[in-house]
């Protein structure tokens, strides 16, 4: 069965870009516009193999979202990749402390994305 990846980003472009790339590799993709929506989906039974989340989002930002997932029974060990920008070394650390598994630095190429996904996909 295809592995499912949940993409959380308020920017449609980014969701599409990541989604296209992942789908081309046979992953099944679910999108959410912010942490709040993603968390709802997870609570309502969505069980992805991995989550890719942006950090800067309205409603619920990435860091709080990661923390929330790590406290969610049954979903606590899902690998989470965060999308950061190069200028955010501090964010990287903060994200890791919150429980992020890894990160992808924007801007990235499809190959780079796939490589990182492959690195943490269970």
């Amino acid at each position: 069965m295809a592995k499912t990846i949940l993409i959380v980003d308020d920017a449609q472009t980014m969701r599409q870009m990541v989604g296209f790339t992942l789908k081309s590799r046979g992953y099944s993709v679910v999108e959410a516009c912010d942490g709040k929506e993603a968390l709802e989906k997870l609570k309502n039974g969505l069980n992805p193999d991995m989550i890719i989340t942006d950090l800067n989002m309205p409603e619920m930002d990435g860091i709080s979202f990661i923390k929330a997932v790590r406290g969610l029974t049954g979903k606590r060990y899902i690998p989470i990749l965060m999308l950061t920008t190069e200028s955010m070394e501090e964010k990287k650390r903060e994200g890791q402390a919150a429980g992020a598994t890894g990160w992808i630095v924007k801007p990235f190429t499809p190959e780079q994305l796939l490589k990182v996904v492959d690195m943490v996909m269970p």
Binding site: M14, M17, S24, W103, V105, K106, P107, F108, K115, V120
Partner: protein
Amino acid sequence: MPDSFTIDTSKIKESFFAECEDHISSMEGFIMELEENPDDKELLNALFRSVHSIKGNSGCLGFDDIYSFTHRMETVLDRLRNGEMSFTDELASILLESVDCIKDLVESAKKGQPAPDNMKDVLRKVSSLPGHTETDSTVHREGACHKNNRPSHPTDTGLLRVVFKPDQEILKRGMDPLRLIRKLRELGDPISIKPYFSRPMELEEIDPELCYLSWDMHLVSKESVEVVESVFEFVKDRSHVEITRLIPSESADDGTSRRDRRVSQKGHGSTQHPSVRPAMQSHHVHGRESSTIRVDIDKVEQLVNLVGELLITQTIINQLSSGLTGERAGLLEKSISQLKRNTMAIQERVMSIRMLPVGNIFTRFKRLVRDLAAQREKKIGLLISGEDTELDKTVIERLADPLTHLLRNAVDHGIETPEERRNSGKPEEGVVRINAFHEGGKVVITVEDDGRGIDRKKILHKAVEKGLIEDGKSIPDDEIYELIFAPGFSTADKVTDVSGRGVGMDVVKRNMEAMGGAVSIESREGAFTRFTLRLPLTLAIIDGLIVRVGSEKFIIPITTVLESKRPLPEELKTVENRGEVIDFRGRFVPLVRLHRVFGIKPLEERPWCALVVIVSIDGKHYGLLVDELLGEQQVVIKSMGCLQGITGIAGATILGDGEVALIIDGGGIIKRSICC
């Protein structure tokens, strides 16, 4: 994974443009609301998010203009967020102008047109905001998280030891350590994997959510240490990861010799693999240790000297062992040759600690010139040569500023606009050239442009105006050019943001002089301007030609050598007032007898029985008479301590066989020979 991978981006671009429009209109709203409520953090965050989102997406889609513009805007907003500046009416209007500019940029991107002109004006305004430093003006996009994405050069198979002690919380971050171990299997063949418990414990004490395991592996792999290390990219900050190359391969050694990373030697006696030789290199990544360390240059100096001594001792041992026979002699010979290789390797590494190719700073100038040229609407190509010329790190660092000034001048004042160039019969594209090389015992860096040259009259006029010289006095060219270095001197008609403030050139001169160097100018009006920086060689490594004069060996810097010849007796002449000369390709060049300069008894006084090395010093040719050529070698210039400053000697070096040789300073030799 295939090497190249493309997806159709047209749809994504479409939605990007649509999204930008949304962001742009909401950004306008946010800014105007902020005018009313400048302290509203939420508004500011929302504005930041919009800019940030456009920036991230434009970067991924390759819209570099949008990316760099939004990056700068983001910087301003970030300062605002951190309370480093406050929201003023002026700022609001600049921000609104910026939004307009993004709008235009997006429109241009949509149509596939270049960035609109007004972008630069707005950028200038953004850059002129307090605290916005000039370095922000060039935005460098880092190559994402994949510093290890570069192709790994093929290496011979080697044996690596990988010690991996995950932090206990690793599972809680969704990382399965077994996943990493499986990844390692993709990189090589694990010949042993030993798991360890971090401590013996009772079953009931075990927390199932923590990781108590660690692993010690031996991996037969063709990959470099860096590639193997990249597997641990996401965990190395918190876990203990140690990768050691146990059996090195030659090529793998090369791959790691220039690394900045801390190298430590750590042996774990209890877990040592039986077939394993002592660790050669160990890449120890742990916690948040810094990947570079600062070391006092004196310590490196001492190390250089010690290595020199080591080399000598090794040569002596080598010679002593040469006559031995018997069962053990063979073993000894092997060990000595191993020792020799290691000593050489140590020497190389120690040297490389201090030396960096000057090209390291040249590369950043490509961007500088490109951006400046674009800003000035000029067409300029930057040619770089001699980037492999090695220079002491501290010298390189201090070179960056002067070179930046010179390049800015070349772009701003030197190269004409495409129209002007066309009118004066030049190709539209101007050329700025940076070159580095060794000459006359110095490292020389030239910055040259084929632009309009220096306007003598303008300088004279300005100098008279500033009261630097008297009117009507005739002054030679080089003195006129020298005026450019006077503090506060600028002939630029109008001050631009890159040059023309007259603060550049005197700083260049001061910087160079502080390093014991010099700067000079050559120029022809309408043709070129060339700045020549000369730096002392005392800290550099050079390629040298080893020559013998009598019983002494000397090193002639190879960059000064044109050729060597054994002259025919009729090619030698004695000219009045010029002394001995020798025919070199139809021209007579002065013959300098090195034995006479240094007061040594030569093996041969007749040039046609000895050898003459033709050298170029400060653009003039000379023939140096030597007894014999012994070969070429890269030599390290060592300070001569209290003997420093002898005319004609740039320094000394220790040759591979332990002998000391003096390095000839061409310019000094000529001076001395005139006195002889």
